[in-house]
Amino acid sequence: MTHWVKVAPLNEIPALGARIVRSKGIEIGVFRLEDDRIFAINNQCPHKGGPLSEGIVYGDKIACPMHSWKISLIDGKAEEPDVGQTACFNTKVENGFVYLELKDPELKDLEL
């Protein structure tokens, strides 16, 4: 089952920054790029689970706050030579609000 959930007004997510969204035991990082594009990924670094939402956003990447792996916000993949990937979620912005698409089976896989 898929559903879109309302997260927050766009202006409550800092540009080149992120907010943490918690849903049923999992944490999702919702990121805003300089050009207001919004991306959402599982808030766990593929390296050692660092909270990606706390990193530095640049271009369309996030530098993990723990050991500086660079993770693509577009596909959740770690930049070479590191390997690993974190799950991504669809997002949209409507009337100034950010929405996140949650799919139940996907969330099940990620539950802690």
Binding site: V5, K6, V7, A8, E12, P14, A15, L16, G17, A18, R19, I20, V21, R22, S23, E27, V30, E34, K48, G50, P51, E54, G55, I56, V57, Y58, G59, A63, P65, M66, H67, S68, K70, P81, L100, L102
Partner: protein, 811 residues
């Protein structure tokens, strides 16, 4: 556009790699190489010959790599004509390719002595895989090898042939080996060591001719004997000529491109035909042709920026250094190691221990040197040489090397040579020496950055970078050039820290977007390396005017707490001078209870740490604590440690506790290039450990001594004496001025010790002690910058709705 590359070797392909990094879409690229292989690491031919590597190991770019990058590769394809008018190149068999830009990277050819017999079977140069294979094959069937030339290449060939099982004689016309790299003493030491490995030497001999055997069935004649001008004859089934190389510019010359002992290029690597560029051993740049990879890589970088139409970057020539890649032999040389009447020498010679070091010094700078037996400090000397660093302050211990004492986290090792392959080099990421060597060899790594990226060694706390550098230097030989310290701030710009700061001042940039635009940053919003640095430079250059950008700060500074491994945070309130009260302690205890803090710990900085706090609890906790932030997370003022001092201690001469409190209050909220720690002790017993702090103050009967540039972290450094002052206000003024000049001039992420290492203590003394007006002004600037700054915790507590990022959204 179409780019054609002639020469599929190290310089050409490095240029293509650099180009792909910065302009991946600009060209359709076609590469012609007359060898049957894709690009390989030529310098690793010596380890191949010495049975340490295989040909497969040394391929740098596989055929798949070319395909992945849409590069058309022709191997076994020799270009023999360039039609510049129609912009087409042709191979011998008629294949052609059109170009908009042409890159010539045809390398060089071994120079063959023009003596009778040079064309006999078994007489070869040492340049490529074919030559290497021929040597390995010959060793299986023949006995006697003669290597003509006792230079780097010749000795590496001789060593390899010996390992392949041949009897090897090295013939050299000079009085000692490697005369271009070593002085006589070191050259003789080397000869002795190589003789011990079983090599024979004939010095001061000129080869007159090579005599052949009776022709075989195909009428081919193999070399049998070598004769010298003094009449001596020796058996020779294989003769390797390694007496030098000649730039390979015949193709360019035949196309009418101006050549003079090489393809002549300007500082942008452009030939006299503006559509044609050249890099590598085939060029003559300012009259010099280089035969080592480090300069070729510098050329490649510059050339790529011009091919990419960026129009930046100039190649201005290189100083090179050399190392012989013969396992078990350690030698290093760089620059002018002979000297003349205007130079001085420092020599250390331990004949029994097999160690020889010589540095040549001119006008207080190292201009060259030779190290034999112990090359640990080669890169360090070489870096000082390249940076033109003044040495008078370290002259006394220069010969004893870069004091690596106290460098922790890798079994106390500081000499890579003494380590075996299983020993750990990088204590943070668990990387062993063997892993690093293998990565350098197999993946063709050439710089510290490459090694950091591929192996993670040295990428965390950095304390092992020196070891990694030694491993790199000994694995690559002369192929390694230590980076100059004035390097670009990061990959987003070519400007170094000093240039960035100067432009921020000159153009009065007040925010990051303007600064990036004004300085033509390559990336839309920088990266995690440059943004924090820019943010600091803006704030420190234009206090109260520049806009702080929290998103360009590391998480700790963004939320004013240290992030922990599990994503929780720690809260360390200020306790000025390490002094607390029962009231404060009660408050801390209550807060710890209320928020179920998992651990309460006394820190190494004389205060209390509440560890494991959830991000969403930070605000509430700060409110309940009602204490100022301890900035334990900041590149800024951390702690001022104190001892009990004259108020209580029977030895105390000064009230160090109060002094510490006053300093911590005066400089509270101060940002800096890195963290800044003070300590104040009441007497020379120094219970506050003032000797390892950025600023250490020691009370003595007649006043206060001020020490600067100490560091108790990764590399323990004792603070150096700056001056002695009489009163309390002077302590604040002198130490404040010192810190302000550090804030204005050090590079971001330099601790005070690193900054002083670069500018010299003399410079600091001149600014603080001799220039009293300047000192006062600097102190005033610091006070101005700190005027009216509010505590960040209180600010957030009072403006909760402006700081939504502390709240988690639940859905």
């Amino acid at each position: 556009m179409k780019l054609v590359v002639v020469g599929n070797g190290m310089a050409g392909m490095r240029t293509v790699e650099e180009l792909l990094k910065i302009a991946p879409e600009l060209y359709d690229i076609t590469v012609f190489g007359d060898e049957p292989y894709p690009n390989y690491n030529r310098i690793m031919l010596s380890p191949v010959l010495a049975n340490e590597q295989t040909v497969d190991d040394i391929i740098l770019n596989t055929r798949e790599w070319y395909a992945e990058h849409n590069i058309t590769l022709y191997t076994n394809a020799r270009i023999n004509k360039i039609d510049r008018k129609n912009r087409v190149v042709y191979t011998e068999d008629g294949t052609s390719a059109e170009y908009d830009r042409l890159l010539l990277a045809t390398g060089s050819k071994p120079f063959m002595l023009p003596i009778p017999g040079k064309d006999l079977e078994g007489v070869i140069g040492y340049r490529d895989i074919k030559d290497t294979n021929e040597m390995i094959a010959t060793a299986k069937t023949h006995k006697h090898a003669v290597v003509i030339g006792g230079g780097l290449l010749g000795l590496e060939a001789a060593n390899g042939l010996k390992i392949q099982g041949m009897e090897v004689t090295v013939v050299h016309k000079n009085e000692w080996l490697l005369e271009k790299q070593l002085d006589k003493t070191a050259g003789k030491m080397l000869q002795k060591n190589l003789e011990a490995k079983g090599l024979n030497f004939l010095l001061q001999k000129n080869t007159e001719l090579l005599i052949g055997d009776t022709p075989d069935a195909n009428g081919k004649c193999r070399v049998k004997t070598a004769r010298f001008t003094d009449g001596l004859e020796i058996a020779a089934d294989l003769v390797v000529m390694a007496i030098g190389i000649r730039p390979n510019f015949a193709l360019a010359e035949s196309a009418g491109i101006y050549c003079n002992k090489g393809i002549v290029v300007n500082d942008t690597m452009q030939t006299y035909d503006p559509r044609i560029y050249a890099v590598g051993e085939c060029v003559a740049h300012r009259g010099i042709s280089y035969g080592l990879v480090a300069p070729l890589f510098e050329m490649a970088k510059v050339c790529a920026t011009h091919l990419a139409n960026f129009g930046i970057g100039l190649y201005k020539g290189s100083v090179t250094s050399t190392k012989l890649k013969v396992t078990g032999i350690d030698l290093f040389s760089a620059g002018d190691f002979t000297g003349d009447s205007d130079t001085e020498e420092i020599v250390l010679h331990d004949a029994v221990g097999g160690i020889y070091k010589k540095l040549v010094i001119k006008n207080d700078k190292i201009i060259g040197g030779v190290l034999y037996g112990d090359t640990t400090d080669g890169s360090w000397y070489f870096q000082m040489l390249r940076d033109g660093k003044a040495i008078h302050e370290i002259r006394d211990h220069l010969m004893f090397g870069q004091d690596s004492l106290g460098n922790t986290g890798h079994q106390g090792q500081n000499k890579a040579a003494a380590m075996n392959n299983e020993m750990e080099v990088c204590g943070c990421n668990g990387v062993c020496k063997g892993t690093i060597v293998k990565a350098i060899q197999d993946q063709g790594l050439f710089t510290i950055d490459d090694v950091k990226k591929q192996t993670k060694a040295g990428s965390s706390c950095g304390s092992c970078v020196g070891l990694v550098e030694q491993i790199l230097a000994s694995t690559l030989g002369g192929g390694y050039a230590p980076p100059s310290t004035s390097k670009a701030i990061c990959g987003c710009s070519d400007k170094n820290h000093e240039e960035v700061r100067a432009e921020i001042r000159a153009h009065k940039y007040l925010n990051i977007p303007d600064a990036m635009k004004g300085m033509a940053w390559r990336t839309p919003n920088g990266c995690a390396t440059c943004r924090p640095a820019l943010n600091y430079y803006l704030l420190s250059s234009w206090p109260h005017e520049a806009v702080d950008d929290p998103q360009s700060r590391f998480i700790n500074e963004r939320v004013h707490a240290n992030i922990q491994k599990d994503g929780t945070f720690s809260v360390i309130p200020r306790m000025y001078g390490g002094v607390t009260t029962p009231d404060q302690l009660r408050k801390i205890a209550d807060v710890a209870d209320k928020y179920a803090v998992p651990m309460v710990k006394v820190t190494g900085g004389q205060r209390i740490d509440l560890l494991g706090v959830k991000k969403e609890d930070l605000m509430g906790m700060w409110k309940d604590l009602d204490m100022p932030s301890g900035y334990a997370y900041a590149k800024g003022i951390r702690t001022v440690k104190t001892c009990v001092g004259s108020e209580f201690c029977r030895f105390g001469t000064q009230n160090s506790t109060q002094m510490g409190i006053d300093i911590e209050k005066a400089f509270d909220h101060m940002w800096a290039p890195h963290k800044v720690k003070f300590a104040v002790s009441g007497c020379p017993r120094n219970c506050a450990e003032s000797g390892i702090k950025d600023v250490g103050i020691i009370g003595v009967d007649s006043g206060w001594e001020i020490y600067v540039g100490g560091n108790g972290g990764i590399k323990t450094e004792a603070a150096q004496f700056l001056c002695k002052v009489k009163g309390h206000d002077e302590v604040l003024e002198y130490s404040g001025a010192f810190i302000q000049i550090y804030r204005e001039e050090a590079r971001y992420l330099d601790r005070t010790v690193h900054w002083i290492e670069r500018v010299g203590l003399e410079y600091v003394k001149q600014r603080i002690l001799e220039d009293s007006e300047g000192r006062k002004a600097a102190y005033e600037r610091l006070l101005f910058a700190l005027q009216g700054v509010v505590d960040p915790w209180a600010e957030r507590v009072n403006n909760r709705d402006k700081h939504k990022e502390f709240e988690t959204i639940s859905v």
